[in-house]
C-alpha cells in the first residue's frame, strides 16, 4: 500500500517542449469523462443546488427567489432540529467509539497472535454488508418481543427493558449499536495498517528503555499515527453526515420522527412532499457541515505539505 501512495511522476512526457492545445491530445480525450464529471456533476451540480435553495421551488425547480426563506423555515422546523440533534449525538458517539474500539482491536490483533486472519475476517465482514441488511438484522435482534429483551425476560428477569427501537429517547443509540457493528471493522483495518507502518525500532527502543507497553502506545505510537487518525476521522465523519439507508431500514425515522436524520429530511422534501426548495436548502446545510469537517483537514494536509 505504501508503494501505491507514490506521487505522480513529473518527468513524464508533459515535460516535453511541445506546446499547444493538441499536445497530449489522446490523454485529454481520455480524461473527458473525468473532466465532465468534475465540472458538470460535482461543481455544476453543487452550484445548482445552492442556487435553487434560494428559490421557492415546490414540485419543479422555479426561479422565484425568496431569499433566505427556505433556510428560515428549515431552522424553524422541529423535524430538522431533531434530525440535526440526532446527527450530532450519532456522529460524536460513532466517531469516539469507532476510533477507540477500532484502535483497541487493531492493537490486540497486532500482538503477533495466531489466527489473526480469522479474527480480522470476522471483525470486518459486516462492512461488506449493506446498511439495509445491517439495519434489518438489528431490527430483528432488538425486537422487544422476540429479540434480546424477550430472551432476557424469558430467563426470568421479567422487568428487563431494552427496546431502543421503540423508545423515542434512546432510539438513536439503537442506530449507534447497528452502525458500530457495521463500521468498526473498517476502522480497525485502517488502524492496523497504521500500526504496521510504525518502525519496529520504535518498539525496540521503548523496550530497551523499559517503558510499559500501554505507555508506548499512548505517548509514542498514537502520536506517530496522527495522520492515520485524521484521515480515518475525515472518512468516518463524511460517512456519518450521509447516513440514510441505516435509518430507513432500522427505524424508518421512527418512532414518530424521533430518529430523523438530515439525509432523510432532504429525501422526503425533494421526492415525497414536493417541497424541492426546502430539500435543497437542507442539502446545502449538509454540504456546509461537510465543509466544516473538510476544510481544516485539507488545510492541514495540503497546506502543510506545501510548506514542508
Amino acid at each position: 500500500m505504501s508503494a501505491a501512495t507514490a506521487a505522480p511522476r513529473s518527468g513524464s512526457p508533459s515535460a516535453r517542449p511541445r506546446r499547444g492545445p493538441f499536445r497530449n491530445l489522446s490523454a485529454k480525450i481520455a480524461a473527458i469523462p473525468m473532466i465532465l464529471t468534475a465540472l458538470v456533476v460535482f461543481a455544476g451540480g453543487t452550484l445548482w443546488t445552492i442556487f435553487y435553495s434560494f428559490t421557492g421551488s415546490r414540485m419543479l425547480p422555479k426561479e422565484t427567489f425568496v431569499g433566505l426563506d427556505q433556510y428560515e423555515r428549515l431552522w424553524n422546523s422541529n423535524k430538522w432540529l431533531i434530525a440535526i440533534e440526532n446527527l450530532a449525538i450519532f456522529g460524536v458517539c460513532s466517531l469516539v467509539f469507532s476510533l477507540v474500539i477500532g484502535f483497541l482491536l487493531a492493537a490486540l490483533l497486532d500482538q503477533k497472535i495466531r489466527f489473526e486472519d480469522v479474527f480480522r475476517t470476522i471483525f470486518l465482514y459486516p462492512f461488506a454488508l449493506s446498511f439495509i441488511v445491517t439495519g434489518l438484522v438489528w431490527q430483528w435482534i432488538l425486537n422487544p418481543e422476540y429479540g434480546i429483551e424477550g430472551v432476557v425476560r424469558a430467563m426470568g428477569w421479567s422487568s428487563f427493558t431494552f427496546d431502543p427501537l421503540y423508545d423515542a429517547d434512546i432510539v438513536i443509540y439503537g442506530l449507534l449499536i447497528a452502525g458500530l457493528w457495521q463500521g468498526t471493522g473498517f476502522v480497525m483495518c485502517l488502524m492496523l495498517a497504521g500500526l504496521r507502518g510504525i518502525d519496529d525500532d520504535v518498539w525496540k527502543a521503548s523496550r530497551v528503555d523499559g517503558i510499559p507497553m500501554w505507555k508506548t502506545y499512548l505517548f509514542i505510537v498514537i502520536p506517530m499515527m496522527r495522520p492515520v487518525f485524521i484521515t480515518t476521522l475525515v472518512i468516518i465523519a463524511a460517512g456519518i453526515i450521509k447516513v440514510y439507508d441505516l435509518v430507513v431500514a432500522l427505524t424508518s425515522g421512527g418512532p414518530g420522527i424521533a430518529s430523523q436524520v438530515p439525509a432523510m429530511y432532504v429525501y422526503t422534501n425533494m421526492f415525497q412532499a414536493q417541497n424541492l426548495g426546502q430539500g435543497l436548502a437542507a442539502s446545502t446545510m449538509m454540504l456546509l457541515s461537510v465543509l466544516i469537517v473538510l476544510i481544516p483537514w485539507a488545510y492541514l494536509e495540503f497546506g502543510g505539505r506545501r510548506r514542508g
Binding site: 501505491a4 513524464s12 508533459s14 490523454a27 470486518l124 461488506a128 439495509i132 430483528w140 422476540y146 472518512i235
Partner: protein
C-alpha cells in the same frame, strides 16, 4: 468491552510482546496459557462472538418455522430445520402487488451491477492512466475537484442528477442508473488507478515510448497486463458498493426495476400483513450473500480495496 482490553495490555511484560527470532536471546519458550494469552485471546473471542452473532441469528431464524420463532428465543438453533422461508423469500414474498419474491430484485441488481462495474472501471482506469503518465495542463485541477466531489453528500447532487438524466433521456432507465454509479464511483476508482499506475517503474513507460508506442498502445499492452491485481481490487470495491446501494436505486429507478436492497427493504418494512420473521431473515441473507461471497473469496484484496479510500493522493 474496551476497559478489560487496556487493562490486559497494561499488565503485559513488554519482553513477551515482540520476540524477534533473530534477536540475541533466541526464541524463548513461553507457556501457552500465560495470563497474557488468556486475556488476549479471551477478549478477541468475546468480540468475535459479538460480531458473528447477527449472522448466526439471521441463519438460525431463517431456518425455523413461525410457530417455533414465537415460542423459542432467537439465539437457539432450530429444532426442525425448514427451507420453506428461503423458497418463499426467493419466489413468493410480496412487495405491493407483485408477489414474485426477491428473485426479481436479484436479477435487477445483476443487470444494474454488471454494466456499472465494467463501465466505471474502464473509464476510471483510463482516467487514472492519463493522470499518472500523461499529465496535461490543468489535469490536477480537475482531479482535485473530483476528489473533493467524493466528500459532497449525495443529497446535494441528487436533484441535479435527476435533471441531467432527464435531459439525456435516461431517467428511470437502467442506463441512467449505470451512469449514476459510474459517476459516483469515479473519484475513488480514479484515485486508486492513478496511484497504482504511478508506482509502476517509469523506465517501462519510457522504453515503450522509445519503441514508438502511443497512449493506447502503452495502456493496453503494458499498463493493463501489469495491473491485474488493482483491477481485481477495483472490481471488489465496485461490486460490493453497487450491490449494496440503496439511495440511487430508490431515486433513479422505477418500482419494476428496483435493485435487491430496495425490494428487500420494501418486503421487510411493509406495514400490511403478518410479519414473517423467518422469511424476512432469509430474504436479508439472500441480499447480503453476493457481497459476503465476494468478501470471503477475496480475502486480503478486499482489505486493500477499502483501505484505498484512506490512501492519500
Amino acid at each position: 468491552m474496551a476497559e478489560p482490553g487496556t487493562g490486559a495490555l497494561g499488565q503485559v511484560d513488554p519482553d513477551a510482546v515482540a520476540v524477534d527470532p533473530d534477536g540475541p536471546r533466541g526464541a524463548r519458550p513461553k507457556p501457552v496459557f500465560s495470563r497474557r494469552n488468556i486475556f488476549l485471546y479471551g477478549t478477541l473471542f468475546v468480540v468475535a462472538v459479538y460480531y458473528a452473532l447477527p449472522l448466526y441469528v439471521m441463519v438460525v431464524t431463517s431456518l425455523k418455522g413461525m410457530p417455533e420463532i414465537r415460542l423459542g428465543n432467537i439465539f437457539s438453533p432450530p429444532v426442525e430445520v425448514t427451507f420453506q422461508p428461503w423458497v418463499k423469500a426467493w419466489s413468493q414474498a410480496c412487495t405491493g402487488l407483485n408477489c414474485d419474491g426477491l428473485s426479481r430484485g436479484f436479477w435487477n441488481s445483476v443487470i444494474i451491477t454488471v454494466p456499472s462495474v465494467v463501465l466505471s472501471i474502464i473509464i476510471a482506469s483510463v482516467n487514472g492512466y492519463a493522470l499518472a503518465n500523461w499529465r496535461f495542463k490543468g489535469a490536477n485541477v480537475f482531479f482535485t475537484i473530483l476528489i473533493f466531489g467524493a466528500f459532497i453528500p449525495y443529497q446535494v447532487l441528487l436533484y441535479p442528477m435527476v435533471i441531467l438524466l432527464r435531459e439525456l433521456g435516461l431517467y428511470g432507465s437502467l442506463w441512467g442508473l449505470v451512469l449514476v454509479h459510474t459517476i459516483f464511483g469515479m473519484p475513488i476508482l480514479t484515485l486508486l488507478f492513478r496511484n497504482y499506475f504511478s508506482s509502476i517503474p517509469e523506465e517501462l513507460f519510457k522504453a515503450a515510448r522509445v519503441d514508438g508506442a502511443g497512449f493506447w498502445g502503452i495502456f493496453l499492452q503494458i499498463m493493463v497486463p501489469m495491473s491485474l491485481p488493482i483491477f481485481v481490487v477495483a472490481m471488489i470495491l465496485q461490486v460490493t458498493g453497487i450491490w449494496n446501494d440503496f439511495l440511487f436505486g430508490v431515486v433513479y429507478s422505477k418500482p419494476s426495476s428496483y435493485p435487491m436492497t430496495v425490494q428487500l427493504n420494501n418486503i421487510v418494512n411493509s406495514v400490511q400483513g403478518v410479519k414473517e420473521y423467518n422469511v424476512n431473515m432469509a430474504a436479508t441473507i439472500l441480499t447480503g450473500l453476493v457481497p459476503l461471497i465476494v468478501y470471503f473469496a477475496s480475502g486480503k484484496l478486499f482489505v486493500r480495496g477499502i483501505a484505498a479510500g484512506a490512501v492519500k493522493g
